[in-house]
C-alpha cells in the first residue's frame, strides 16, 4: 500500500528541490558540467581519431613495404655500405615462396616530371604500379578505371590521374578519359581519375600521383628490372610482423647480405603504424575518461554535500513527517529520489548541451568526421547518472533516517 511512486512523490521531490532554487541550480551545475565534459571529450576524441584515421583511408591495414638500402655489415667477403636493389624477380620470388602473401606489388617511381594538358601544368609523382596495386591502396575511381594487368603486360601508355593533378590539368572538370596528357617527352592516355585523398600512401600522396603501368615506367626511365619498393599484403589472419624474418632470409640469400642486417632491407609495417595510433588514442581515451569521470564525481560529491546540509536544515520537517507516520524507509526513499531527480535533470541537460555543442563542432569540422556521441552512449550516461544519484543520496539519506520524531519538538 505504501511506497508507491506516484504524482505525490514527484510533488514532494519537486517541492523540496524548488524550495531553494539557486542552491539546487548551483548544485545541479556540477553534475551538468561533469557530464558535459565527459560526453564532449568522448565525442571530441572520437572525432579527432576519425580525422586522423582519414589519413590512412583506403590503405590496407595489413601491408608491409620493403625498400632496399646500403648494407651496414660486411658479409661473405663483401664490404659494408654496398648498395643493392629490389628487382622484378624478387616480386615473382616472393609470390612463389610466401603463400601467406595476398598481393605482392612492385612500385617504380619517378619524380620531378611536369605534366601538360592544353596549357595547364601539374607536377605529379609518377608511380609505376602493377595491376593488383589497388588491393594495397584502394582508389576511389571517379571516372574510368584503374590500371589493369593487361595494361602492364602490353606496356600501354596509359595513366590514372590523382585528384589534385586532375584539378590542375582539367580545371573545367568533366570526364578526361581518352584525353592525352604530356609527361616529359611522352604522351599518356588518361584512363581514369582517382579521387582518394588518404595521406599515407607510398611515395607521395595519392592526390598528387599519376599512376602508370610499372612496365611503362621501367622502360621510359631505363630502370631495367629494378623496382623502388615492393608492397605486400597478408592474407586474412596473417600477422605481417611475424613475416619479417622470412622476408629477410629470402632477400638476403638472393642479394647476398647479412640476414641480421636490418638497415639493408627496410621493412615498413603498417600494422605498427596503426598500432602506434591505436595506442595513442587508447592513452587519450584513458585521459578522457579520467577527466570526465573525475569531473562528474566531483559534481556528485557536491550533490551529496549539499543534500547533507539540506537534511540538517530539514531536521524539524523530517521529525514532523516521522511523528505523523512516515517510516524510516519513506524518508530514505524521499532523500534518494531527490538526489536522483536532481542528478538526472542536471545530467540530462548536460547530455543535451554536449550533443548540441558536438553538432556545432561537427559542422565546424565540415562533417569530415563523426564527433557526435552515439545514442547508446547517451543512454549509458543516463544510467551512470542514476547510479551516481543513488550513491550521492545515500549518505544524506542515512543521516535523515537517523532523525527521531522527538527532534521535531526539540529543534525549535
Amino acid at each position: 500500500m505504501r511506497h508507491r511512486f506516484d504524482f505525490d512523490t514527484l510533488r514532494e521531490i519537486g517541492d523540496s528541490l524548488f524550495r531553494n532554487k539557486r542552491r539546487t541550480l548551483l548544485t545541479g551545475f556540477g553534475i551538468f558540467w561533469g557530464l558535459f565534459m565527459l560526453l564532449f571529450l568522448i565525442g571530441g576524441g572520437q572525432g579527432l581519431k576519425q580525422m586522423l584515421s582519414k589519413n590512412f583511408e583506403g590503405f590496407a591495414t595489413n601491408t608491409m613495404v620493403m625498400v632496399s638500402a646500403n648494407t651496414s655489415m660486411p658479409y661473405k667477403g663483401m664490404k659494408e655500405g654496398r648498395y643493392w636493389s629490389l628487382t622484378q624477380r624478387d616480386v615473382e620470388r616472393l609470390k612463389a615462396l610466401v603463400p601467406e602473401f595476398d598481393v605482392v606489388a612492385p612500385i617504380v617511381s619517378n619524380w620531378g616530371q611536369t605534366a601538360y594538358y592544353k596549357g595547364n601544368t601539374a607536377s605529379p609523382s609518377i608511380k609505376g604500379i602493377a595491376g593488383d596495386y589497388h588491393k594495397v591502396e584502394a582508389p576511389i575511381i571517379k571516372y574510368g578505371r584503374m590500371i589493369s594487368d593487361a595494361d602492364v603486360e602490353q606496356e600501354r601508355k596509359v595513366c590514372v590521374v590523382g585528384k589534385r593533378i586532375y584539378n590542375d590539368l582539367f580545371p573545367q572538370g568533366g570526364d578526361p578519359c581518352g584525353e592525352y596528357i604530356q609527361v616529359g617527352s611522352v604522351f599518356l592516355q588518361v584512363i581514369g581519375v582517382d579521387y582518394s585523398t588518404g595521406n599515407i600512401s607510398i611515395n607521395g600522396s595519392s592526390a598528387d600521383a599519376l599512376l602508370v603501368p610499372f612496365s611503362v615506367v621501367a622502360k621510359l626511365y631505363q630502370r631495367g628490372d629494378k623496382v623502388d619498393l615492393i608492397c605486400v599484403t597478408g592474407k586474412p589472419g596473417v600477422k605481417m610482423s611475424q613475416m619479417e624474418d622470412k622476408i629477410r632470409s629470402i632477400m638476403s640469400r638472393e642479394h647476398i647480405f647479412d640476414p641480421t642486417d636490418e638497415q639493408a632491407l627496410l621493412l615498413l609495417n603498417t600494422e605498427q603504424i596503426f598500432s602506434i595510433v591505436d595506442n595513442l588514442f587508447r592513452g587519450v581515451n584513458f585521459l578522457i575518461w579520467l577527466v570526465g569521470i573525475g569531473t562528474l564525481l566531483a559534481g556528485a560529491v557536491g550533490v551529496s554535500n549539499i543534500m547533507m546540509v539540506t537534511v540538517r536544515e530539514r531536521t524539524v520537517e523530517i521529525g514532523i513527517r516521522r511523528a505523523i507516520g512516515a517510516v524510516p524507509r519513506d524518508i530514505l526513499s524521499q532523500i534518494i529520489w531527490e538526489s536522483v531527480t536532481l542528478t538526472l535533470a542536471a545530467g540530462s541537460a548536460g547530455i543535451v548541451f554536449s550533443v548540441l555543442i558536438l553538432n556545432v563542432v561537427e559542422a565546424i569540422a565540415k562533417h569530415q568526421a563523426v564527433f557526435q556521441i552515439s545514442f547508446w552512449t547517451a543512454i549509458l550516461a543516463a544510467l551512470l547518472l542514476s547510479v551516481l544519484g543513488v550513491l550521492a543520496g545515500l549518505a544524506p539519506a542515512l543521516r535523515a533516517m537517523k532523525v527521531k520524531p522527538v527532534d521535531a519538538m526539540r529543534d525549535e
Binding site: M1, R2, R4, D6, F7, D8, D15, S16, R19, V316, E317, G319, I320, R321, R322, A323, I324, G325, A326, V327, P328, R329, D330, K404, P405, V406, A408, M409, E412
Partner: protein
C-alpha cells in the same frame, strides 16, 4: 481501558544518569479529556513522548488500546503513531512549503490513501475547523490560531484513538488560546475524541475533566475536575 501505564520508568543517560520518570501508573478511558500538569523538569514532556510512542521507556508496561507498546521497531512505532495518535504541538509544526490542505493530507499520504480521497477528507476537516477558505494558503500566511487549527485537523484526519497536545496554546495569545481550547473541548464532547493535553498553564488544564499533576517524575495527585473549578482565575479565561 484505552491507556494503561504500569510502573513506567525512564532514565536519560547523557553522561550523568537522569531518572526522569520514577514509576508512573496511569489509566485513561476512551472519551476522556485529561490534562497533564507540572512544572518544567517534572517529566511531563517525557511522559507525553512515551504516550505518543516517540520515545522508549526502561521499565514497566504501556498498553495503548490493548496493545503493549514496548521495544517496537521504528517501522512499527511509526505505523502505530500514524494510526492511533494525533499530535498537536506547541509550535504547530506545520511543513512550511506545503499549503494548509497538503499539511492536513500528509498523514493519509503515509497511509497510502489515494489522492482524491485524501484531499476530500482533508477538506472536510478544514471545513470543520472553519478554514475552508484558507485551504490553499501556506502556513506563514496564517495566524497562530489558524495554524493550530490546521494542526488539529491534521491530527484528526486519521481518526486516532487519542489526540496528544503538547502545550497547544503555548505560542498563542489568550483570546486564541481560549478558542483553541474550546475547539478541543467541543471535539471531546461532541465527537467523543480522547484528548490529552500537556501544559503548565492552570487555565488550560482547567478545560479538562481530569487533571494529572506530575512532580519530580511521579504522579502527585489526580484531580477530578468535572466542575472546572480548578483554576483560580475562573472558567472563562486563560491567564497568560
Amino acid at each position: 481501558m484505552l491507556i494503561e501505564l504500569k510502573g513506567v520508568h525512564k532514565t536519560y543517560d547523557n553522561g550523568q544518569p537522569l531518572h526522569v520518570l520514577k514509576g508512573i501508573d496511569l489509566e485513561i478511558e476512551k472519551g476522556e479529556f485529561v490534562s497533564i500538569m507540572g512544572a518544567s523538569g517534572s517529566g511531563k514532556s517525557t511522559l507525553l513522548n512515551i504516550l505518543g510512542i516517540l520515545d522508549n521507556y526502561d521499565e514497566g508496561e504501556y498498553h495503548l488500546a490493548g496493545k503493549l507498546i514496548k521495544n517496537l521497531s521504528e517501522r512499527e512505532s511509526a505505523t502505530y503513531r500514524n494510526q492511533m495518535i494525533g499530535f498537536v504541538f506547541q509550535s504547530f509544526n506545520l511543513i512550511g512549503f506545503k499549503t494548509a490542505v497538503e499539511n492536513v493530507e500528509l498523514p493519509l499520504f503515509y497511509q497510502g490513501v489515494n489522492r482524491h480521497r485524501r484531499h476530500e477528507a482533508a477538506m472536510a476537516y478544514l471545513e470543520k475547523m472553519g478554514l475552508t477558505g484558507w485551504a490553499s494558503h501556506y502556513p506563514n500566511e496564517m495566524s497562530g490560531g489558524q495554524k493550530q487549527r490546521v494542526a488539529i485537523a491534521r491530527a484528526l484526519i486519521t481518526h486516532p484513538e487519542i489526540i496528544l497536545a503538547d502545550e497547544p496554546t503555548g505560542a498563542l495569545d489568550s483570546k486564541t488560546s481560549v478558542e483553541v481550547m474550546e475547539l478541543l473541548t467541543r471535539l471531546n464532547r461532541e465527537d467523543g475524541v480522547t484528548i490529552i493535553v500537556v501544559t503548565h498553564e492552570s487555565g488550560v488544564a482547567n478545560c479538562a475533566d481530569k487533571i494529572v499533576h506530575i512532580k519530580d517524575g511521579l504522579i502527585e495527585r489526580i484531580e477530578d475536575n468535572r466542575q472546572h473549578h480548578s483554576s483560580m482565575f475562573g472558567t472563562d479565561t486563560i491567564m497568560k
